[in-house]
Amino acid sequence: MKRFMSCILGTVILCAVANLPAHADQLLPGQVDFGGFSPPKGGGQFVEVNVPTALINLASQIVAKDEPEVAKVLDGLKLVKVNVIGLDDENRPEMAKRAQKIREDLTGEGWTRVVVVQEKEQDVSVYLKMDDKGAVQGVTAVVIDGKDDAVFANVVGNIKPEQLAMIGEKFNIKPLERLKIHEGQHEHQHQDNADADDKPKEKSSQ
């Protein structure tokens, strides 16, 4: 009996130990780990929104009757994560470096850059992750908006880049609302991108 109890106890502890790091490190397909962000010390803006599946489902049910098309888009989502960090002299170079690293990582992990906008001090990149069958797994946007703020957004699920603004509108996430990508623009950029072998291009748009 004693041996049986210790066996059970051992199994439970092993399962718990084995499960902990797996749970912490497991990312959904299409999910990006931007790492942790800290509020700027100068008192600038810092916004972090992380909408889990349960809340997305709730939002979907709320709009299901009046806006079935929006509900359909929301049903395909698993996670919405947005980080907005106000830029000051102290963190601006660090954020620019970080944005660059995230872009490189995304390219290395098989994400396709579908939108690139680099004009004046604005630098917008939108990436798309698709599975083998061509279904969208996630969209990621990395934005350095002039001298004001840096935005890192990741929407996991079946979504088109031009629907990002709508997601921002529905969840009242202002930085996503600003990302208005038009369908034509997306396709055009997608083509450019395929031709240019993923090389960043200067493009004035919006």
């Binding site: 800290s38 509020p39 010390k41 008192g43 803006q45 810092f46 916004v47 972090e48 929104v49 992380n50 909408v51 889990p52 349960a54 809340l55 709730l58 049910q61 709320i62 709009v63 009757k65 009046d66």
Partner: protein, 232 residues
């Protein structure tokens, strides 16, 4: 003759046998097989009544005291924020309203002419607690990065994850929800640090009435906006 059931008789213990103090022998009761003596029931009823009489005041005291004690999640969040902001805090207000109180409030409110929206909103809530604290020291200059980090760590240990974190100027807001939120109930814990005040709130609601309420609000909004359009 069947066994004599002395134990069930009130005189059985003291007068088991005739003696100088109790010359009368306890009457013997014959018990039919399978029949429980009514004294058993009497004894149990007395015991239960006594137990209830002793417990009711204790339950009442615990019940009243529970209004002033925050739920464990709220306490953890409050402690995390306070630990990362050195200084003295003074509690200004705190209340914890459980399901029973909310049910009673719903029942009471159903007889009043309260705004229907308020009644509907009350239906959404299952449990809620809120506390307000004031920073007593002269200057409050928290390191928000540390506040977020400490609160995240403490809440993660309880299975919560941060769904919103906002820092803007002197205002700080953090909203936490259980990592695995399933079923009909939805829970969240909120900490707001603004100026010299800290507000911690925890609430659990039912998504069913919440959806109904949200739908109604959406329709009302739409009707109002279409009405405004018509006027314009």
């Amino acid at each position: 003759m069947t066994t004599i059931q002395r134990a069930y008789h009130p005189l059985a213990a003291s007068c088991a046998a005739p003696s100088a103090s109790c010359p009368v022998e306890a009457p013997t009761i014959e018990k039919a097989p399978g029949v429980v003596s009514p004294w058993v029931y009497v004894r149990w009823v007395c015991l239960i009544t006594l137990f209830l009489m002793l417990c009711l005041p204790a339950v009442a005291v615990v019940g009243v005291a529970s209004y002033f004690y925050l739920s464990s999640s709220t306490t953890v969040l409050r402690d995390a924020v306070m630990d990362s902001v050195p200084g003295r805090w003074h509690k200004q207000f705190g209340i914890n309203v459980g399901e029973m109180t909310i049910d009673l409030a719903r029942f009471g409110v159903s007889f009043t002419h309260l705004n229907p929206d308020a009644k509907e909103a009350l239906k959404c809530l299952d449990h809620g607690d809120v506390a307000i604290y004031e920073f007593e020291d002269a200057k409050l200059s928290p390191d928000y990065a540390l506040v977020l980090k400490t609160a995240d760590k403490s809440m993660q240990r309880r299975g919560f994850e941060r769904i919103v974190g906002v820092v803007e100027g002197k205002d700080f807001v953090a909203v936490y929800a259980p990592r695995d939120q399933h079923g009909k109930d939805i829970t969240c814990c909120v900490a707001v640090l603004s100026d010299r005040n800290l507000v911690v709130v925890s609430a659990r609601g039912n998504t069913g009435p919440m959806l109904e309420f949200a739908e109604k609000q959406l329709h009302t909004k739409e009707l109002t906006s279409s009405h405004q359009h018509w006027w314009r």
